[in-house]
Symmetry: C2
Subunit: 258 residues, 2 copies
DNA sequence: TATCATTTGTTCGTATGTATC
DNA sequence: CGATACATACGAACAAATGAT
């Protein structure tokens, strides 16, 4: 049994002791932790101290707490679900953006909106420019991982194409439409991590202490003009975005557009 | 002032009320929240309840608490620091992996290690194969963002090259050495998000409620054989990894190696 | 330099509600 | 239904950091 002799706050010592217990295998993955009252007896501390320690382990994602049952050691993610963020096209001009393996949970929801302080600069448009927003909720079949996808199509991009009438066209097909209208397409993407907002936590069914993996992709057309903005949000603990990188010879070409 | 009348636990109501206050601008970014005792008076609840509410807002990353001073509304990140994850090479055979803009905080630490259950499969090696591990701690100058970088060089890759004597060669130069020894290089990278371990929190100087952005890059040589494994860990809230994507015509070539 | 009020951190105790089995 | 376990809430006391006096 891990003794508590480290310096610092009591509840931190208790948390560290339990962390040790998990690391040493005293509390194997999936097994229940001792109950609060057992921990009180064991470490001779008060209930708030024990609860404080448990809260810390929860925030670290080490344990899962079920009301009325107990605390359980979270088992390590089986293996990260890979989300392919590469783009391929076949000889017929069809594009594949990796959505093929996913399962659409709801019908796409379309609404008209405007660029704001965040999306405007990314699309190199003034604030308040009109655009279509298409939200989709996907699931990776079997894995229980959800993905929220948002596609922003500025009116300037959609007009003159079939996107103006059907912005909820399949994302891969959207690329094809733009390519057919004479654009030489290029993409830049950023990946970041942050804590979910309360509504994201429910929509993506995120457990405690799981951050959101948030990717932003911009589709560039001729003269490097931004045509589309795509955002993908998913469970950062379970899913990984995968990229293929090839070395480019010119430093100029390699610069990622802001 | 936001009243507390929503259903549910008291501390959640208080948290929601403060959240509203932040959203409506009653508590602007950077400004101090009322002190605990003021919140007690205002909402007529006990101190533990107030502290519980504050803990929730902290976990969401909405506020920052300073011992002895008070709680402050966190201002949204000025603009995400972009970490260029593309690779370029010039006509002289030099490689640039994006490390040029970073500032090395400590001398690289080198040690000998072995493949384990995680790194082994990624490098397509058995468990227990010998390798060099090179750890570097970088900082993005001025931005206060730290990056922990680990480079794993299997002995099989290093032997016969100057890497065997100097595994702490500059990462870009490592690519060049492998290319000079006859390899056609290709890279695959994955990005994921998770909560930091306690030691990562201190090493990367992460504030509360900030996840780690964790990227894993594999350098492939001839016959798609894995040569190197690189890991980058940084503040997911402040930093974004940026990628350039180009469409590949063959679906076969586009598959990201596991 | 030293002291003091303010503010958050930690710890204890206790009581009641609610979910699970 | 009862036993167990976690959730919520209140009260109280002292410690530690901060900033002003």
């Amino acid at each position: 049994m891990a003794e508590i002799q480290r310096p610092g706050a009591l509840h931190r010592q208790v948390a560290a002791a339990i962390r040790d217990g998990i690391a040493t295998g005293e509390y194997p993955a999936g097994s229940p932790l001792p109950s609060e009252s057992q921990l009180i007896d064991r470490y001779q501390v008060s209930r708030p101290t024990v609860r404080n320690a448990i809260a810390a382990l929860r925030a670290e994602g080490l344990i899962e707490v079920v009301h009325g049952k107990g605390s359980f050691v979270r088992s390590a993610p089986v293996s990260g679900i890979k989300i392919n963020r590469t783009i391929t096209k076949d000889c017929k001009g069809n594009f594949y953006a990796g959505f093929e393996a996913w399962n659409l949970l709801e019908e796409p929801s379309i609404y008209r909106s405007h660029t704001d302080g965040t999306t405007g600069p990314l699309l190199e448009l003034d604030e308040g420019e009109a655009l279509f927003a298409v939200d989709r909720l996907w699931e990776i079949t079997g894995a229980g991982v959800r993905l929220a996808h948002r596609l922003l199509i500025p009116f300037a991009t959609a007009e003159g194409t079939e996107l103006a009438d059907a912005p909820d066209t399949d994302p891969g097909r959207v690329y094809a439409i733009l390519a057919e209208s004479g654009h030489e397409l290029a993409w830049s993407e950023t990946a970041s991590a942050r804590m979910p907002l309360p509504d994201e936590r429910t929509a993506l069914e995120l457990p405690d202490a799981t951050p959101v993996l948030h990717t932003t992709r911009i589709t560039h057309g001729n003269e490097n003009r931004p045509l589309l903005l795509e955002e993908l949000r998913t469970n950062g603990g379970l899913a990984q975005a995968t990229y293929r990188i090839t070395a480019t010879t010119s430093r100029q070409l390699a610069a990622v557009p802001d």
